[in-house]
């Protein structure tokens, strides 16, 4: 049975960007030039074609969406100026919106004004909720006692609830994506877990996607800038991206360590500690890395340093802004903790900090942040495909 095409697919994808992609006449220059395209992932031409023709399942089942790191080489050399790199970005946005079930991502991406209002309202909600539970009397204490202001337990449980919701929505999206890619690539459960050899492949693919690629940024480092002018090291995309990831992970680790120390009864959360204390030091270094990365990314988009940063959507700014605000307010709190007279604004920054961090996590499956869960999944399938071909050869 022939696939019935969705005649509205391209118009729908174009709500997410890719204004010029109709000029594409499938010459394949982009695929030929792409340093990341190979027999296990042919793009961008094929993926653009899926959208032009209206093959929704093929598009959403394309791991290639996420094996692209948007170096912009294709867009620079496209003979029809169809901006294939921007198309890939738009198709990723479309995929994020299509995988998640609520429709929130679609609104955030396609309606910038409403999206911004939602972002503000969610932050206000968290702040308002915490404020309603806060002990305003503690503000004048001689020491900055943040957890007397908003209780540790409240933040803890709020975080648990937020993360549970995030995981629920995220898992829903990931399952849909896995099924779509599995169907298109012909990967079954049995191929993945059915035998010892299958397990070996799966573990190897997990290591490739999460370890080598996501944490190691291997292909981003190796391939993505050949034939292009090499950016100065301080703003080279893979490095800035790696600093952002590692900064975020260090902050996450610092939080876990702090919580672990409390569970172990070594140190209660909120106890004043010197800056060299392991969890504080780790958090500070991570925060600096994150702030550096996010700030350089924002500057790059503002100044349009490269082709990949030439087109920015409100969704790009939303993620960067939330990350930046989280980092910035975090440092303000850190300063407030170490000044001799506890400033009242320390409490307010704390409120904002927690509210935005909560929002960041809650909205993860719906914003550009969702790439942290989808990209490793795609890379997992990419590794499986490569292993299969290596065995066949």
């Amino acid at each position: 049975m022939a696939t019935v095409v969705d005649i509205d697919l391209m118009a729908d994808v174009q709500k997410f960007g890719a204004a010029d992609v109709n000029a594409c006449f499938s010459c394949g220059n982009c695929t030929a030039l792409c340093p990341l395209a190979d027999n296990d992932a042919t793009f961008p031409r094929r993926i653009i074609r899926y959208a032009q023709v209206g093959l929704t399942d093929e598009l959403l089942g394309s791991k290639e969406l996420w094996t692209c790191y948007h170096c912009g080489l294709c867009s620079e050399s496209c003979p029809t100026e169809a901006d294939p790199g921007e198309f890939m970005a738009a198709a990723r946005r479309y995929a994020i919106a299509s995988y998640e079930p609520t429709g929130l991502a679609r609104v955030l991406y396609t309606k910038p004004v409403i999206g911004t209002i939602i972002a503000v309202v969610v932050a206000l909600f968290f702040a308002g909720f915490m404020l309603s539970q806060a002990q305003l009397g503690g503000i004048d204490a001689p020491r900055l006692a943040l957890f007397d202001f908003v209780s540790n337990d409240l933040i803890h449980w709020m975080g648990i609830v937020v993360m549970a919701l995030m995981f629920l929505a995220g898992a829903w999206g990931v399952v849909r994506m896995v099924r779509a890619i599995g169907k298109r690539d012909g990967v079954t459960l049995k191929d993945t877990f059915g035998s010892g050899a299958a397990w070996t492949r799966t573990v190897r693919a997990l290591w490739d996607s999460v370890g080598v690629e996501s944490l190691g940024q291997k292909r981003f480092r190796d391939d993505c800038h050949d034939e292009q002018v090499v950016e100065p090291l301080w703003r080279r995309r893979w490095l800035v991206h790696a600093l952002t990831i590692w900064g975020f992970l260090m902050l996450f680790a610092a939080t876990l360590i702090d919580y672990g120390l409390e569970l172990l009864g070594i140190k209660e959360t909120g106890t004043p500690i010197p800056i060299w204390y392991p969890s504080r030091a780790l958090g500070t270094v991570g925060g600096l890395a994150l702030m550096y990365g996010v700030t350089v990314f924002m500057l790059g988009r503002w100044k349009r340093w490269s082709t990949s940063q030439a087109t920015s959507q409100s969704s790009d700014w939303l993620l960067l802004t939330l990350l930046w605000l989280t980092g910035f307010t975090g440092f303000v709190i850190e300063v407030a903790l170490y000044v001799t007279t506890p400033p009242v604004w320390g409490y307010w920054f704390f409120l904002v900090h927690v509210a935005i961090a909560m929002e960041l996590l809650l909205m993860l499956p719906f914003t550009k942040f969702a790439h942290v869960m989808y990209r490793p999944v795609a890379l997992f399938f990419y590794s499986l495909s490569q292993q299969k071909h290596a065995t066949a050869a």
Binding site: A2, T3, V4, V5, I7, D8, M10, A11, N22, A23, C24, F25, S26, R46, R49, Y50, Q52, V53, G54, L55, T80
Partner: protein
């Protein structure tokens, strides 16, 4: 008088090396030595390139200096250089028909590269034959015929009308015949056309307005050409004019004809690609629908808003075993239609299922615009055309394989399917027979050469232009019409024309009036008349093409072809059989 009894001639013979093309295989010096023994050969030379400027001048000097009265050049094919050396003769005050070209390249050196001795012998025989033919040559003068400064244009479509204006502007009176009751042809029924978006109807109106300003143009509707007599440059055309009740025959004197009868549009058979199903239209029907909807902001079919359209290209064209030709205009017309649709309602999704898009030249710009506005072009394999079915909801399902997506079939749910139909030759058998117009395998009229003589036919004074000679866009058809204007002017504007005198003649005293030749002539150039001694045949030199078909038919050998008389040909055959004199 020489031995054979023919008059003493003074012939110059030039044997060409052709830079080695000939001399590598033929011993040209031996050829020269062999023919120099002939008492009528006054000058015998070999030359590196006979056609070079220097050699041409040398020939002229020899003709003057040695008082030559015949010229033989043994070189390449007469197709290449007959005109060159006739020109040399003329410039040297020698009758150009006293010149004979002998082909010792294509017919000798190139054909016998493995046998130098044989090639040399053959060259000697060929040159001797040429000398023998030249020895008997008679001075001939071109035929001069008076011409009538009037042209008849058959067909009042865009080509015919534009041709008429061109002719009138160059000072030639024009009669335009239109078989239908209205002028304009296909173009007159079209709305905005590619590439400039000018309406077909408006263009015809504009041409008619221009024609109205030119009193030397007569446009006759309901008129057909039914007879043609006379000869080159001076024909009598018989025209039948019809009204509902009356029929009138009119005779007109014209110098040339321009045939611009156009073409028809392919009409799909029932069931061909779903034709017959509600919503499956031809490109013409679709164009009318789009033009009618102009300005309304949406396209509707049977009261339903059209949201998607699929165009299927090459319907009835480029089909093995069917119409194998490409109609040239249909890709551009469809691309243009898709832009019109996009102007009407940009949200309509358009799929173009093609075999390859031949939007050549500037039409490429339209193709690019069409793509940029969202039209999707899909190439289907030649052997797997799309299939069209009606779905339960009355929409249409077009199933196709797109070479650029994958090998799997996909189904496009669309509201309309447009069959892009090309042109077919118009059924004009009477006119074709009347004018003896040659048609090609495809059924369209054939020109002599598509590039070198693009509007002339083998029938002198009958020119063709526009879609009657092959499918083409209106702009190209009009260009052809203007070429026919120039060609007509070349024939008619001098007031007379000069024709090659290489025609057949009848020796009246030998003719018995048997009439065999009359039925042989393919050009109707032979007529019979009665004189004192009975029935005789006569050949009209103006319409005779010099094919020689009548010569062997005559039982009395009463017909001779000037330039190739029986005596000349027999002498040439004798020349061929003479062996090289033993040195």
């Amino acid at each position: 008088m020489s031995e054979s009894g023919s008059p003493q001639r003074r012939i110059g013979v030039y044997i060409c090396h052709c830079g080695g093309n000939i001399s590598d295989y033929v011993d040209v010096d031996r050829v020269r030595a062999a023919i120099s023994a002939d008492p009528d050969v006054v000058v015998g030379k070999t030359t590196l390139f006979a056609c070079s400027d220097g050699t041409q001048h040398e020939m002229i000097d020899d003709i003057h200096g040695e008082d030559l009265d015949g010229l033989v050049v043994a070189s390449c094919s007469p197709k290449l250089h007959t005109t060159t050396f006739r020109g040399v003769s003329t410039r040297a005050d020698l009758n150009p028909y006293a010149y004979t070209q002998v082909n010792i390249r294509e017919q000798d050196s190139w054909a016998h590269t493995d046998d130098h001795e044989g090639a040399t012998q053959k060259a000697i025989a060929l040159v001797q034959a040429g000398i023998a033919k030249t020895r008997l040559s008679l001075p001939l003068e071109p035929l001069r015929v008076e011409t009538v400064p009037a042209t008849m244009v058959v067909g009042a479509g865009i080509t015919g009308l534009r041709t008429a204006i061109g002719l009138a502007d160059i000072g030639i009176a024009v009669t335009v015949l239109e078989r239908e009751s209205e002028v304009g042809g296909w173009v007159g029924r079209l709305g905005p056309m590619f590439p400039h978006n000018a309406s077909g109807r408006a263009q015809i109106d504009e041409l008619m307005a221009e024609i109205a300003k030119r009193p030397t143009i007569t446009v006759l509707n309901n008129a057909e050409l039914v007879g043609k007599t006379g000869s080159f440059g001076n024909y009598t055309a018989k025209v039948r004019l019809r009204t509902e009740t009356t029929e009138e025959l009119r005779q007109l004197q014209v110098g040339t004809f321009v045939i611009a009868t156009g073409a028809d549009v392919y009409s799909p058979e029932a069931g061909e690609l779903g034709y017959g199903i509600d919503g499956v239209l031809t490109i013409k029907e679709f164009g009318d629908l789009v033009d009618a909807a102009k300005g309304s902001g949406s396209l509707t079919w049977q009261g339903r808003k059209v949201r998607s359209v699929a165009y299927v290209y090459c319907v009835g064209n480029r089909q093995p075993g069917g119409n194998e030709y490409c109609s040239k205009f249909c890709c551009a017309a469809t691309v243009h239609a898709s832009i019109k649709v996009s102007d009407l309602d940009p949200s309509i999704r358009q799929f173009h299922l093609h075999r390859d898009v031949r939007a050549y030249g500037r039409y490429e710009l339209m193709y690019t615009e069409s793509r940029e506005r969202g039209s999707v072009y899909m190439r289907y394999p030649d052997d797997a055309p799309p299939s069209v079915e009606q779905m339960p909801d009355k929409r249409l399902a077009v199933t196709v394989t797109d070479a650029l997506t994958s090998q799997d079939e996909i189904t496009l749910p669309v509201d309309l399917v447009v069959l892009v139909t090309g042109m077919v030759p118009r059924d004009n058998e009477d006119l074709t027979t009347l004018l003896k117009l040659p048609t090609g395998d495809d059924g369209f009229y054939n020109e002599i050469h598509p590039k070198l003589r693009p509007v002339e036919t083998v029938v002198d004074g009958v020119l063709i232009a526009g879609a009657c000679q092959g499918p083409k866009p209106a702009t190209e058809a009009v260009s052809g019409g203007l070429a026919a204007v120039t060609q007509s002017a070349g024939i008619l504007k001098k007031g007379f024309a000069e024709l090659d005198p290489l025609v057949a003649t009848v020796t009246e005293s030998l003719c018995t009036g048997c009439g065999d030749c009359l039925t042989t002539c393919p050009y109707d150039s032979i007529a019979s008349y009665v004189c004192d001694t009975g029935q005789k045949a006569t050949i009209d030199p103006a319409s005779c093409k010099g094919c020689g078909g009548c010569v062997p038919v005559c039982p009395e050998d009463a017909i001779d072809l000037l330039g190739y008389t029986s005596a000349q040909m027999l002498a040439a055959i004798d020349g061929l059989s003479v062996k090289e004199p033993v040195a």
